[in-house]
């Protein structure tokens, strides 16, 4: 039985994770502590939930860099609502609606005005952060107030069950749902088709504009979920909540085999990518390295991951081309032989 490419690609990420894990486990004494594993999962879940949303956008051939802004805006709103004593389901719902609306706005802008995703979401990211600034608590003179949430029910979202934070469970559930949608439903099929070849999908009757808007909406909603749980953990929201998370999530997805440009990758890959990125961050702090070297190390490991991805892509590309050429040649030979025979008769 042939092993699918997707599977091999995942083995690469998994392999890198195992290698890193082994290195850290042997060289950094505090790495294998239960608390550290819990902490890795918590941080990975924050990135990972955003990755779930980002993977929809990326597979559909887009990119969303406004995730940070959406997290900031929805997180601050969640913080305000929780502070005035709203029960957590209401807070979560409102935040998700806001996140989804932000995502919808992204998608609408991009499809309605035929804008470039990259620049558009970069810009809307600022806009959403601005909305966050508007929504944040201030006193009469306009001084920003750091607001500590006292709402016990809401703070429960940031707590853990035997050391495993609720956000981790949410992450796993969302990943499974995303995997199901992407691989088992018509919507998922159309997402891949759109990312792989948007024009032919359109010609096949896929409503590409609607699909694109919906992927951005999903991404926005996921960001809001991540934001709510993070705010609950940190007991407050602040202006640079979520800053840099957009890029982080995209990088994690790419490391996990979700292709920039669309059509390739899946939710499980994004899941692994998030773990990988967090692992790199977590492990490198253990060595007491100089700050500058921490950055070099972090960048180098991500580069290695992406290089192995590129190597793999080149390898499968060659394999595909070879297969296609072989098929071409076989067809041609058969045909010519048949024809030569027919001609001689």
């Amino acid at each position: 039985m042939k092993i699918s490419q997707k599977f091999i690609r995942k083995l690469i990420t998994l392999g890198l994770i195992v290698i890193l894990f082994a290195i850290f486990a042997f060289t950094a004494p505090s790495f294998l502590k239960l608390r550290n594993i819990q902490e890795i999962l918590r941080v990975a879940a924050y990135t990972g939930i955003i990755c779930v949303g980002s993977s929809f956008v990326l597979i559909g051939g887009g990119i969303d860099l406004s995730s940070g802004g959406i997290i900031c805006f929805s997180g601050i709103v969640a913080c305000r609502l929780a502070s005035i004593g709203m029960p957590w389901p209401v807070v979560l719902l409102v935040a998700v609606v806001i996140g989804a609306a932000c995502g919808y706005f992204n998608g609408w802008l991009i499809t309605r005005f035929y804008l470039n995703d990259f620049i558009t979401t970069l810009a809307t990211g600022f806009v959403f952060t601005g909305f966050g600034l508007l929504a944040i608590l201030k006193d009469e003179s306009g001084t920003l107030m750091s607001q500590e949430i006292k709402n016990k029910g809401f703070l429960l979202l940031g707590k853990h069950l035997n050391g495993f934070y609720y956000i981790v469970f949410v992450w796993i559930i969302l990943t499974v749902i995303a995997w199901f949608i992407l691989s088992q439903t018509r919507y998922g099929l159309h997402t891949y088709a759109m990312g792989s070849n948007s024009k032919s999908s359109e010609m096949s009757g896929v409503n590409v504009r609607k699909m694109k808007v919906s992927t951005f909406t999903i991404c926005g909603a996921c960001c809001a979920v991540a934001a709510v749980f993070t705010v609950a953990y940190q007991t407050t929201a602040y202006l640079n909540l979520g800053s840099g998370m957009g890029f982080n999530a995209v990088a994690a997805c790419v490391v996990g085999g979700v292709m920039l440009g669309g059509g390739k990758g899946d939710a499980v890959g994004a899941f692994l990518g998030a773990i990988f990125m967090t692992l790199v961050n977590n492990g490198m702090y253990k060595y007491g390295l100089d700050t500058s070297w921490q950055y070099v190390f972090q960048g180098a490991v991500i580069l290695i991951a992406i290089m192995s991805d590129a190597g793999f892509a080149a390898f499968t590309g060659r394999r595909l081309r070879a297969l296609a050429e072989k098929n071409n040649a076989e067809e041609a030979l058969l045909e010519a032989k048949a024809k030569a025979k027919g001609g001689n008769v």
Partner: protein, 502 residues
């Protein structure tokens, strides 16, 4: 009579910005026929197709399908009416399987989820019914061009199309793949499907179609029986005047000016290649896509550098640097002009001058006046239309784009010109012009190497033809002895005697 027609259009008219592009077009296609539509670029072929398929809306006129009057306002209406289009650029999604592609956009659902088993079953049924060589679960990315085309056709058939429209389906196919497609088309005809076939290649029209409608300047100028009509008649109807025949000529070969390739080896793509190309002749290189043709010329030009063996120009080894080769007088018209040939957003001026800045600039600063003079002369010499040097090349027709690339090299009097599929997507009139320019270059003493899948072009234009098969030179045809059949067989690794007609 009426119910023999699958499609009838009545006085279709269409204008863009006040310019009438279609004038009272009455197109009639019978049930179960392969009907060809020909015309030069801009004759209105694609406009009428786009109206039938609902991409454009007509200004005036009626459309009848099966004798029924229908309104076609969008693609969906066209599909409902049973019209399907096989696009020029294949519209398959490479990351999906055959089944997924065929049902893309109209998946069979079961309890809210796509019913993969059922879809697969239906695809298998279709494959069996039409006798295609396909597997429902193959990833499109792993398939050859012919198989992809089949998938495309199957996709159209899955929606129970009564009329298939094929817009230049053979441009990306090699000769034998084309033949395979024709067999498929004939099979469909037998089952009663009508096909509207658009092509620039006359030999294909003869080979496979029943009737032929010719358009010129937005009007239908004639409907003829394509089995009996003379080629000259068709071309003169298309372009409105007679074509000059190039005729057989004796090339003035200069044995002292040559490129010699010795023991060329490139990975497992090319091995043991030995040949000489002389000044004054056009050397044709044939073979299937993937036989190493493009790699061979890339080695000569210098875009591929890692080859083993020697390539010499007049006894001196040539450089492996493209820039140095251009300086030494090399020129290259690449296969995929859209991606490798021209700069779509840049003007005609820049596209022509781009390779000549070594002559048009001093100390790195471009001499604007010389640049304009150079380009204007080239535009006039090679009749690039419109004569507007500032126009971005993406706005030109395919033929004129090709002329721009040719003009880029010809205007600097290249010594060695390599052409890879120079006339793909170019209409008959322009083709003939391009051949004349190539011949003029050769007569000046330049070495011209032309790779082509177009058998007619290969056999008629080249003075000598080398056919590659699996990375080696399989056969050489000298002195205009190449025949289309012979080249086709050699491409597939079967030897035919020179000049033998099968």
């Amino acid at each position: 009579m009426e119910n023999e027609l699958i499609l009838r259009t009545e006085n279709i008219c269409k204008s863009f910005n006040g310019i009438q592009v279609l004038k009272n077009v009455n197109l009639e296609i019978k049930k179960g026929e392969i009907h060809a539509l020909m015309g030069e670029n801009g004759a209105g072929k694609s406009t009428i197709i786009k109206i039938i398929t609902g991409v454009y809306t007509k200004d005036d006129g009626e459309i009848y399908i099966d004798g029924q009057h229908v309104q076609i306002n969008n693609r969906h209406d066209a599909a409902e009416a049973g019209i399907s289009v096989i696009y020029q650029e294949l519209s398959l999604v490479p990351e999906l399987t055959v089944t997924e592609n065929i049902f893309l956009g109209h998946e069979i659902m079961k309890r809210g989820l796509p019913d993969r088993k059922e879809m697969r079953r239906q695809v298998q049924e279709l494959i069996d019914r039409y006798g295609f060589i396909l597997q429902p679960d193959t990833l499109v990315a792993t398939m050859g061009m012919a198989q992809r085309q089949m998938t495309e056709i199957l996709k159209a058939l899955s929606t129970e199309a009564k009329l298939l429209i094929m817009d230049e389906p053979t441009t990306s196919l090699s000769a034998s793949e084309t033949e395979q497609l024709f067999v498929t088309m004939e099979g469909l005809r037998e089952r009663g499907t009508s096909i509207l076939y658009i092509s620039h290649r006359l030999e294909e029209i003869y080979r496979v179609t029943d009737r032929l409608t010719i358009m010129r300047n937005g009007e239908i100028v004639g409907v003829v029986d394509s089995k009996t009509v003379e080629a000259d008649t068709v071309t003169s109807m298309m372009i409105g005047h007679e074509l000059e025949k190039t005729g057989v000529r004796v090339p003035k070969i200069n044995k002292d000016h040559y490129i010699e390739v010795k023991d060329l080896q490139l990975g497992n793509l090319l091995h043991g290649i030995n040949f000489k190309a002389y000044g004054g002749e056009i050397l044709g290189i044939g073979g299937l896509v993937g036989s190493g043709r493009t790699e061979l010329v890339s080695c000569i030009y210098g875009t591929i550098k890692k080859y083993k063996g020697s390539i010499t120009l007049d006894g001196k080894p040539i450089s492996r640097s493209v820039a140095k080769n251009i300086k030494a007088g090399f020129g290259m018209v690449p296969e995929d002009r859209r991606t490798a040939g021209f700069f779509p957003q840049l003007s005609i001026l820049r596209n022509i001058a781009i390779s000549s800045y070594d002559r048009l600039s001093k100390g790195g600063i471009v001499n604007g006046k010389a640049e304009i003079e150079h380009t204007e002369k080239a535009i006039a010499d090679y009749d690039v239309r419109p004569h507007m040097r500032k126009l971005p090349v993406q706005n030109l027709s395919g033929g004129n784009q090709q002329k721009v690339i040719l003009a880029r090299w010809l205007s600097r009097d290249v010594d060695v010109l390599i052409l890879d599929e120079p006339t793909v997507g170019v209409d008959v009139g322009v083709k003939a012009e391009l051949y004349v320019y190539m011949r003029k270059m050769a007569d000046k003493g330049s070495i011209i190497i032309m790779v082509s899948s177009d058998l007619a072009e290969l056999t008629e234009v080249s003075d000598r033809v080398l056919v590659l098969h699996n990375g080696t030179i399989f056969q050489e045809f000298r002195d205009h002895k190449a025949t289309q059949q012979g080249v086709l067989l050699a491409s597939s690794g079967v030897t035919a005697k020179e000049g033998e007609v099968l």
